[in-house]
């Protein structure tokens, strides 16, 4: 009996200790909440770690204008954000304002009903109509892309001027340009094959091989195949680039930091990523003059698209949020031209907001891509199934690893067929 009693007393003590701990925690929480109860805390989650300082400044301005709202910003690494954002958003306590990638993440979030319909909000009018269409589904504006990115190689304009090179307009001119670079011991294209190289470069490599913008939609519905010319030709182009010294040696093992370093050191003329790396390249080498130069892999008369754009970093309001009005105030604030200009110039990005004033030379020099050039939306983001996207990218890696384009395409097509319904 005594042992029973001792057992109960032990458990009782454990329970009392746990209760004491939790009650003191509750007290702590209530103290905290009472101090914070004057302002509504709005959670803002995204993946742009490099924009932290600029956002902090913008948030401080917003809070000054709206003293009843506190914004708590959480930034996640993009890979982690791709994987975990949906889970975070489910109960509505996190991510009152959140961001979404276009493509498979947008589709998954839409399917999960995480977007608030923004169609009738006044601030939608502050954005350029064309680029924000990527955030629409079923006739509703579910998310608003904030950034406009050009996913095509960045080139060293100064180097081209020194070597007397013009921007090529056809495959033959592109080959001549590359020959000159190689003759001068310069790597034509620094290709970060270990990470983002394939998923960025595939877009401009395929833009004129697969002019049908619905080609991936058709692939996912079984109407198209990766073994058809549009993709095997693209893989052949990758193979040609790899085997003829257009990419650096060991391209598949090179990560983006190493590739950027090659361009910053002027060992390489082009970086196969996108406009979002221009600011970072300038930081590595302030003397660089930069522009955008997509690979032209077809004869001049077959060139339909001159480049690739992506409207991304899509701002959205969590359907499960209880602070939707405050969230709308924040997005409205971000859509004001002067705030957007601050963000654009602070982060080196083009934006979808109207009347933004770009200050940096790079942003000004490349702004004509928004208005004057015929670009198409990044095809990769039109793949809605992540497994299909992986198969497509895997075929590029396969070719760069010496597989034949036909075999790589067939292998990838098999994976596609296993994953489409």
């Amino acid at each position: 009996m005594k042992k029973w009693l001792a057992g109960f007393m032990f458990l009782g003590m454990l329970f009392a200790a746990a209760c004491a701990d939790s009650s003191s925690q509750e007290e702590q929480d209530s103290d905290d909440s009472s101090s914070a109860s004057e302002a509504t805390e709005l959670s803002f989650i995204h993946w742009r770690g490099e924009d932290k300082e600029v956002f902090e400044d913008i948030i401080a301005q917003f809070e000054e204008e709206n003293p009843d709202i506190d914004i708590k910003m959480n930034i996640y690494p993009s890979e982690q954000y791709q994987s975990n954002a949906q889970q975070l958003l489910r109960d509505g306590s996190t991510g009152d304002v959140f961001t979404s990638f276009p493509g498979s993440q947008f589709e998954a979030m839409k399917e999960a009903g995480l977007f608030t319909d923004l169609t009738n909000e006044d601030f939608v009018g502050n954005f350029s109509e064309g680029p924000i269409s990527v955030g629409q589904a079923d006739g509703k504006q579910l998310a608003i892309p904030y950034q406009l990115v050009f996913n095509m190689p960045v080139y060293n304009k100064g180097m081209f001027e020194e070597l007397g090179l013009d921007v090529p307009k056809s495959w033959s001119q592109y080959q001549e340009m590359v020959d000159t670079l190689i003759e001068n011991d310069i790597v034509p294209v620094a290709f970060p094959g270990a990470d983002i190289g394939p998923n960025q470069t595939m877009n401009s490599m395929m833009m004129n091989n697969a002019k049908d913008e619905e080609v991936f939609q058709k692939l996912e519905s079984g109407e198209e195949s990766l073994t058809n010319d549009w993709w095997t030709n693209t893989l052949e182009d990758f193979q040609y680039f790899n085997e003829n010294g257009y990419f650096q040696e060991n391209a598949l093992g090179t990560n983006q930091d190493s590739a950027m370093q090659m361009v910053a050191n002027e060992e390489a003329a082009m970086l196969a990523t996108g406009s979002y790396h221009m600011a970072a390249l300038k930081e590595l080498n302030p003397d660089l003059k930069l522009g955008l130069l997509p690979p032209i892999t077809v004869p001049e008369n077959e060139v339909e698209y001159e480049g690739i754009h992506t409207a991304t970093f899509m701002l959205a309001i969590n359907k499960n949020s209880e602070k939707k009005e405050e969230a709308k105030q924040f997005i409205n604030f971000l859509s004001q031209p002067e705030i957007a200009s601050q963000y654009a110039n602070g982060t080196g990005q083009h934006l979808t907001v109207k009347d933004v004033e770009y200050e940096s030379e790079e942003l000004q020099n490349t702004a004509h891509w928004i208005t004057d050039k015929k670009t198409r939306f990044q095809p990769r983001y039109l793949i809605t199934e992540a497994a299909v996207e992986d198969a497509v990218l895997g075929s590029i890696e396969n070719v760069l690893g010496d597989a034949s384009p036909e075999d790589a395409a067939a292998e990838a097509q098999q994976i596609v067929e296993e994953n489409i319904e």
Binding site: A112, A386, G401, A408, E418
Partner: protein, 291 residues
């Protein structure tokens, strides 16, 4: 001796923790493996054994990841066990130098996987990495490789990193096992004229069998769970050549939003580990001796 019934109360906290952190997730995984749950929506359908059928007959990436995982596991189990055993035999004596060296070999174990991945990404970089630079410096530049970019060797590069990461931990287990072998046995065998190889073959190895069982079983399980290192170094690429089961489960669950199928693969994964560990225990137990 009569055991008081009160003693069973002391099982309760452990049982609760076990149920919350092991039993419940395991049963949940089993439950969801019979559904098409996407991990987000409230609704899902029961699909019977379709997820299992898909894994076994209709998913080439899953089969590839199983093959990669077995290659990785065999390489790591052999080389990690051998490296740990050799260094344990060399460093078994309790001298100051050996204490220092044991600590040095143990050091990688206390690093986080991401730190290890960061270090080895730099080592393996084909253009700037120190491994290729070292090979060139030694005049054996023909051995330089695209260590993580070449699909034929990337899995072995990762396995080597795994061995470097965990061999020190296994070394400590072997050193403890070696210290437990009575010295008298060696002295008696030496008096009988036993050679060094005979000492190892007839005394050291058989009496180390319990330690070896732990090391090999633990190494095997570790190899199957080497998610973070591989995810950080290659992400499963290039072209799925380093995709192992755990990285594939992650991709299916969190990138493809196919939790039902990911649960099915997880259950198969658990069975594979259990089966291999069981076989290892059986084989290694049969080698045990006592003098």
């Amino acid at each position: 001796m009569k055991i008081s019934k009160a003693i069973y109360l002391f099982f309760i906290p452990g049982l609760i923790l076990y149920s919350i952190f092991f039993l419940f997730p395991t049963v949940s995984a089993l439950y969801y493996s019979f559904t098409d749950w996407d991990g987000i929506s409230a609704d899902f359908n029961y699909v019977g054994f379709a997820n299992y059928e898909r894994a076994v007959t209709g998913d080439s990436i899953f089969m590839k990841s199983v093959g990669n995982n077995l290659e990785f596991m065999i390489f790591v189990a052999i080389f990690q066990t051998l490296a740990a055993l050799i260094f344990a035999i060399i460093l078994v004596k309790n001298t100051k130098v050996n204490y220092y060296l044991r600590a040095l070999f143990f050091f990688p174990t206390i690093l986080s996987s991401v730190s290890v991945a960061f270090i080895w990404a730099f080592v393996y970089d084909p253009n700037l990495g120190i491994l290729n630079q070292l090979l060139n410096l030694l005049g054996i530049g023909f051995l330089t490789q695209n260590w993580l970019g070449n699909g034929d060797i990337a899995i072995y590069s990762l396995a080597f990193t795994q061995v470097w990461f965990h061999a020190g931990q296994m070394l400590i287990i072997f050193v403890a096992g070696l210290h437990a072998i009575p010295n008298d046995l060696y002295e008696a065998a030496k008096m009988e004229g036993a050679s060094k190889w005979q000492l190892f073959r007839k005394i050291t190895w058989p009496l180390l069998a319990p330690s070896a069982t732990i090391v090999i079983a633990y190494t095997t399980i570790q190899s199957f769970q080497a998610f973070d290192l591989i995810f950080a170094l290659t992400g499963g690429g290039p072209n799925y050549s380093t995709e192992i089961i755990s990285t594939y489960i992650y991709t299916v669950a969190f990138r493809n939003y196919d939790f039902g199928y990911a649960s099915g693969i997880s259950v198969i994964f658990m069975c594979i580990i259990a089966l291999i560990t069981y076989i290892q225990f059986k084989v290694l137990r049969s080698n045990r001796v006592s003098y």
